[in-house]
């Protein structure tokens, strides 16, 4: 004999958010008459401690075995109320939520209608909950090793945090050295400390850490498995240098006769050799041979490096290696790309010599950069007298990227400060809004204003060298509508800096598929919850940190690196991993082995067991999307917690209530 179903229903007022529109008393009274409902209450704030305690108390005192809370979106408080159920001794999956705020009180004008809709939604939840079953999670052992992808500041931070807790980290970086974009920067806002000075110690720490295995000049080839048990194949590209023999003495690149324009690190402003490290403080301090540019590889001659190498570390016959590592969790910190300013032709980048991008300017002003820190025009000698800095290039623009790139305002203000400090030149900043929301940011803005930078509010229409007014000859003229005075203005300057926005890496989508996570429309990786779970992803055991998730400044990236590390450490600390309980299962009594479901699974979680000729779902791989359920013709697959019975019951609850109102 089945246990009697005893449902408790709780209607939340949410202050006046719900109660101001929905007649919560009436809904509560009405819910009390629904089948199997033992008690029905309404309360000011169900999510408050007393509200939660009310549930726990009722479960014990009234012997409730199902709970329905009608309040806000389950995305906000489902876990809260599940917790309340657990503290009352009830399995969390015997709880169901009706969303009568976001989907009702906030969106419905007519109070009577809103109350009716609330009733239908509550009935739906009540009907559904009686079909819900207690679910127990599956536990799998957790491999304590971690893969970090990306050696920028976020990845370095995450790797250090984990390695310092004596867990092993495999850090994979695509470029020859760690450092990422931050290594290219000169000063960092708003403190103006030297970027390299604060970053390189961390890089070195990682590089020599006994709990870190570093794979630079490497990429992740493939990932399989699931949280706690990932198997990762890494392609270690041939450097043509024997890593153990190389001492990083630098003789090879000194001797290399081939100069190559460095368009990665030096953004095309400087040169490097065909054998090189991107910058002096590179970690590891081991060069790579740039095969497409190396004379040996092109013509078979030269071999200068090989001749001079004191340790015989040059190995022209080195091959790519495929290495397999086992890890329990993964942190993606693959960073961003800067917006390609050429896409906005009216700003003249690539056409007008003295239009620079923000990254170019970073290199110009950097003491370790191609000009040794001298800010000069493209001719290499002339010092600009006036500089125009254009904000939001490629950002907040319906034609390119809709979003705000978060760092450009501060970076532009930093440039203003540096220009004035180094050259004393006049600076114009062209902005849409100034956004300085973080600690000490606005103070920096005030300081730059005091230093005399001119801020002009308006989106720049055009940068041109076609003079038409006196004083414009030989200048770059910035055409803008100054929206504060409502006038068109032409500002002649010597140098234009385009504060280009940030965008997702070109291969972000590919990477996302490789790691089984998703991308937003803008191709940033999507976090599990934008507020409450910002570094986790939909795929258990895969986390994101830094700008790969969205535009971020350094402090935020570092914070996310740490946060992701903390999440990973917390997983490792558990020793075993709870797998999503709402997975799909095959009823092998009814499965006819038609294999329809197998290709539908986005996670390859379904296999065909040949000797019984039935489908089987690996619960650890299943993410609970239910696509297979929709495909199974014999209805032999059930998605736990979203069973057909539950969904139909929910629908019937809503429909019957609607029909009841229609009839009356």
């Amino acid at each position: 004999m089945a246990e009697e179903t005893r449902i408790g229903v709780y209607i939340c007022h949410c202050g006046t958010n719900i109660a101001g529109v929905v007649d919560v008393g009436e809904v509560s009274r009405w819910a009390g008459e629904l089948p199997n409902v033992i008690l029905s209450r309404d309360y000011k704030f169900m999510c408050s401690s007393p509200g939660q305690e009310l549930i726990a108390k009722d479960i014990k005192a009234q012997g409730l075995n199902r709970v329905v809370v009608a309040s806000c979106s389950p995305h906000l408080h489902e876990s809260t109320f599940r917790g309340a159920c657990v503290s009352g001794g009830l399995n969390p999956y015997l709880f169901e939520m009706a969303n009568i705020r976001e989907q009702d009180s906030w969106v419905t004008t007519d109070k009577l209608e809103a109350t009716k809709k609330a009733k239908a939604l509550v009935a739906a939840a009540v009907y559904r909950v009686s079909y819900q079953k207690p679910l127990e999670s599956l536990f799998v052992p957790m491999d304590p090793s971690v893969l970090v992808v990306g050696g920028g500041v976020a990845g370095v931070q995450a790797a250090l945090e984990i390695a310092n807790s004596r867990r092993h980290v495999y850090l994979v970086e695509r470029e020859p050295s760690l450092g990422g974009h931050m290594a290219q920067l000169d000063k960092t806002f708003p403190t103006l400390d030297c970027s390299a000075c604060i970053l390189t110690p961390k890089m070195t720490d990682v590089g020599k850490h006994k709990h870190v295995t570093l794979f630079t000049w490497s990429e992740v080839e493939s990932v399989s498995g699931y949280v706690g048990n990932f198997t990762v194949t890494i392609r270690k590209r041939a450097r043509y240098i024997h890593e153990e023999l190389c001492t990083g003495c630098g003789i090879c690149w000194e001797k290399c006769p081939k100069k190559v324009l460095d368009d990665v690190f030096e953004t095309g402003l400087g040169y490097r050799k065909a054998v090189y490290t991107p910058f002096p403080q590179a970690v590891p301090n081991i060069p790579v041979i740039d095969r497409p540019n190396c004379t040996y590889f092109i013509k078979g001659t030269c071999q200068a490096c090989k001749k001079f190498c004191p340790t015989g570390a040059i190995k022209f016959d080195q091959q790519d290696e495929l290495l397999t590592v086992k890890v329990g969790s993964i942190i993606l910190a693959t960073g961003y790309e800067v917006f390609d300013a050429r896409r906005i032709p009216q700003y003249g980048y690539g056409r007008l010599a003295n239009v620079f991008t923000s990254m170019e300017f970073e290199r110009l002003t950097n003491a370790a950069g191609p000009t040794g820190g001298k800010v000069v025009l493209r001719d290499g000698v002339t010092t600009p007298k006036s500089v125009g800095i254009i904000h939001c290039v490629g950002s907040r623009d319906v034609n390119y990227n809709n979003y705000c790139s978060a760092i450009c305002c501060m970076q532009s203000l930093k440039f203003a400060h540096l220009v004035q400090e180094k050259l004393g030149a006049q600076v114009y900043e062209f902005y849409i809004d100034i956004r300085t929301p973080a600690k000490a940011y606005d103070e920096f803005y005030q300081r730059v204003l005091k230093e005399g930078a001119q801020l002009i509010r308006g989106r720049v229409a055009e940068v041109t060298n076609e003079a038409c007014l006196p004083g414009e000859d030989g200048k770059l003229i910035i055409q803008v509508e100054d929206t504060l005075i409502g006038k068109q203005r032409r500002i002649p300057v010597d140098m234009v800096i385009l504060s280009v926005g940030l965008q997702a890496r070109a291969d972000a989508k590919e990477v996302a598929i490789k790691f089984g996570i998703s991308c937003s429309v803008d191709e940033w990786f999507i976090e599990k919850h934008p507020k409450l779970d910002p570094v986790a992803t939909m795929t258990d055991g895969v986390f994101v940190a830094g700008a790969c998730q969205g535009p971020k400044d350094i402090p935020s990236s570092v914070a996310q690196g740490s946060a992701a590390a903390a999440r990973v450490m917390s997983l490792i600390g558990q020793g075993e991993i709870e797998i999503e309980a709402a997975t799909a299962v095959v009823d092998d009594g009814t499965c006819v082995g038609c294999k329809e479901c197998i290709p539908t699974c986005p996670y390859q979680a379904i296999s065909f067991i040949e000797y019984v000729r039935k489908a089987y779902i690996n619960e650890a791989l299943c993410k609970g999307c239910g696509t297979c359920v929709g495909a199974c013709l014999s209805k032999s697959i059930n998605l736990k917690h979203f069973t057909d019975d539950q969904l139909v019951a929910e629908m019937v609850g809503a429909m019957q209530t609607m029909k009841l109102f229609e009839a009356s």
Binding site: Q103, V107, S518, T600, Y603
Partner: protein
């Protein structure tokens, strides 16, 4: 004129959040659609949609993530195929395909969600009540 009864199946990750977004922005829309949350629009079997009609629903909405934007990589590809066929089949049964709305709403598209609800409710209202055409 009558008040159409509509069931909406929304995927948890995009559309349901889109509905939340609309709510948070206090956008107003008609109360006719009752929302059922599913993990992915790929979970929605044609049977589920048809059962709504059997229960007397005047319209059914199936909303998922934009194609290419699915939280489960490509669950909504199947939705797109299944629902396209189902719509045809409804036509072949003499049931207006306009009663089945299949669309894509992202978490950010609160406004699109509200507009969609309003326009679909109107669209269904233009048709006769489902129970009536079945008599």
């Amino acid at each position: 004129m009558y008040e159409p009864k509509i069931i909406g199946f929304l995927c948890n990750w995009c559309s349901y959040r889109g509905a939340d977004t609309a709510g948070m922005a206090r956008m107003k829309y008609p109360p006719n659609v009752k929302i059922i949350r599913v993990p992915c629009s790929g979970r929605i079997s044609p049977e589920l949609v048809l059962r709504c009609f059997r229960e007397g629903a005047d319209g059914v909405m199936v909303l998922g993530c934009h194609i290419g934007d699915c939280h489960y990589a490509n669950g909504n590809h199947r939705t797109a195929k299944r629902m396209a066929i189902l719509r045809q089949l409804l036509e072949y049964n003499g049931i207006e395909a306009q009663r089945l709305c299949v669309d894509w709403v992202s978490a950010a598209e609160g406004e699109k969600f509200a507009t969609l609800i309003a326009s679909f409710t109107e669209q269904v209202r233009q048709l006769a009540p489902f129970v009536e055409i079945m008599q």
